[in-house]
Symmetry: C2
Subunit: 348 residues, 2 copies
DNA sequence: ACTTGGATAGAAAGCGCTTGCTGCAACGCT
DNA sequence: AGCGTTGCAGCAAGCGCTTTCTATCCAAGT
């Protein structure tokens, strides 16, 4: 049926053990023998049986990448960067690993299930990207699962997610709080005093941190926040559109709208325009992440750039054991304020 | 060390065979026994060893999803839809499969390598999304690889990619040619006679088909095309920006720019604006795909909507054997012209 | 010339699971 | 009462690889 190691061995007139060693390159094999084996492999078009070798070697070459929403470039960019470092194809030869990205859709259950699936596959490493859900039971379950994975030898890396002290996982965290604060301070510096905030879904670390940064900026400048100025929604444009309309309804005198991310900001822009308001003359808008399309908004979006690709690449390297983890296993990745046309001084 | 089937069997006082059967649910087991086993599984926190079971059963629960660019929502949307149908988490219990998306970056070698990796893992199915590279040797290599995978029992589905007759793979193809034609006809109908075209990378089916549609429309209306009106580039905004500048340099009298996709169109819009031209008053712009952000361009982008999520979902179901393949194994998915603000009658 | 040791290659014992086949009650039939 | 069924459970033989341990060969050491 399918070609096996034994077939190759027979053809190359060596033992299966030798073929295995040639293929793994972890044991001295005479050059002439090696060549004979490789020729046989080629002639028979042999492909190693992954499951069998994983079973025997008790290690697999799978690396899992968990993302909240694969259709969102925020995750796509990170996943792409991680995967390209994982090696798989494109990486240097040798450790050819299969970087697989799994889309949780932001659902806690799916997150856990994927982790189990990866555990079942005995994944070599797992990278979790983006914010975490802040539900206590779920966090406990996650921590337990991660610990179990780690105990089984799976390397765990968090990319753009807060540290999980209990699990000892390496974490590259985005400084969402700092970025949010800086962004709002920029707006305050421009003269804004009544700022609406469109937050992401509740019970999410990213949502909370960005909002905290926003509020910290307000507090630092003695601006008392009106509870009506905050609306929660999803991380998509539609949600931004609706939330903006709601914000405008609650307080038409707002002079700025800060969005949880760029997609939401785009929706906000659309809603403002549809309401006959000009940006930034009537209302300033700010996003977060600086995804590629943000610069194409009209006017271009003021936002906080997160080095997604760089962070992803680093996370990938750490997951592969090709880069030293940061001291303490935790590193904070800062964002950079990008001031563009969507923010300006308020009227009057 | 780690818990094995045998441990569970011992604890439940049954044979390993029985545990396996309970877990797979493909053999009658007395209810009381089943319950005892499940309790033991739970108590020991047992997780099946994937490689071992794949080896023994000669089947795996991996399903590969190949995409050209994971950071591009075009692929992200399809991949998400496919993955959610693959089941994995979220799907109904039972056939819990791991849908893994692999990012080829549009590179032929990586595409092939991923296929080999999936073959090595004995993937249950593989879905290839998006356009194919039109290099003859590579196509032959791909066909051979796909055939081999198919022979090994892996189901192959092409989503948004032209059929590959040699391989007998199921194909859900986008009607890029038809969409391109319709789009350009819309522009011609508006009165445009000098249309620039920003094509995607050469040697790509998607690029060629869209361009052919564009040219067919021109030909059908007796418009002779100036070779200077076509520029090739990548499928990203940057490329669209540069190509537009080039187009303008070559022929400043163009009244419309048709882009290979929405991202490119966005770049085109930016270039036009930066050149002091208004859209659509001075120059009309059209994209392709209708990605979520297209409606947020200012003015909103005229484009062709491709039912990415629907097609992906269907491809996923077919890959899982949960839906009948289309008759003949090939289905054409049409796009829908979305006329919006970025296209209008030319000046004068 | 004889021992020693380095360099290769082979034999064989699993890795943890699945599954065809066998075993054995309890059951219903004539 | 005798016997074929039916329903469950266990035995044991692998699945295709890796890896430890052993065997062999030859160059070098004394």
């Amino acid at each position: 049926m399918t070609v096996t190691l034994a077939d190759v061995a027979a053809r190359a007139q060596v033992s299966p053990a030798t073929v295995s060693r040639v293929l793994n390159g972890n044991y001295p094999v005479a050059a002439s023998t090696r060549e004979r084996v490789l020729r046989a492999v080629d002639e028979l078009d042999y492909v190693l049986n992954g499951p069998a070798s994983a079973l025997a070697a008790a290690t697999s070459d799978l690396v899992g990448i968990l993302v909240n929403d694969i259709a969102d470039p925020f995750f796509g960019i990170m996943a792409g960067a991680i995967q390209s470092e994982i090696g798989g194809p494109g990486g240097r030869a040798g450790g050819e690993r299969l970087g697989v990205v799994c889309n949780t859709g932001g659902s806690p259950e799916r997150e856990l299930t994927y982790l189990t699936l990866l555990q079942r596959q005995r994944a070599a490493a797992v990278v979790l990207t983006g914010g975490a859900v802040e539900d206590a039971p779920h966090q406990a379950a996650m921590a337990a699962k991660l610990r179990k994975l780690a105990d089984a030898g799976t390397r765990i890396v968090l990319c753009g997610r807060p540290p999980s002290p209990e699990t000892g996982a390496i974490a590259l965290t985005f400084d969402n709080r700092g970025g949010g604060k800086e962004l709002t301070e920029h707006l305050i510096g421009l003269g804004h005093r009544r700022l609406g905030y469109i937050a992401g879904p509740e019970e999410r670390t990213t949502t909370r941190h960005r909002l905290e940064g926003h509020r910290a900026a307000l507090a630092a400048h003695g601006i008392e926040e009106d509870p009506r100025w905050t609306v929660h929604g999803r991380y998509d444009r539609r949600s931004g559109y609706e939330a903006t309309l709601e914000l405008l309804r609650r307080d038409p005198s707002l002079t700025a709208v800060v969005a949880a991310n760029d997609s939401v900001a785009l929706g906000a822009c659309a809603a403002l325009r549809d309401s006959g308001l000009r940006i930034p003359d009537d209302v300033s808008v700010a996003g977060f992440d600086d995804l590629p399309f943000s610069i194409d908004a009209v006017p271009a979006l003021t936002t906080v750039r997160l080095p997604l690709a760089e962070a992803g690449a680093r996370a990938g390297r750490i997951a592969m054991g090709r880069e030293e983890p940061p001291p303490g296993g935790i590193a904070t990745v800062r964002g950079e304020l990008m001031v563009r046309g969507s923010s300006g001084a308020p009227r009057g």
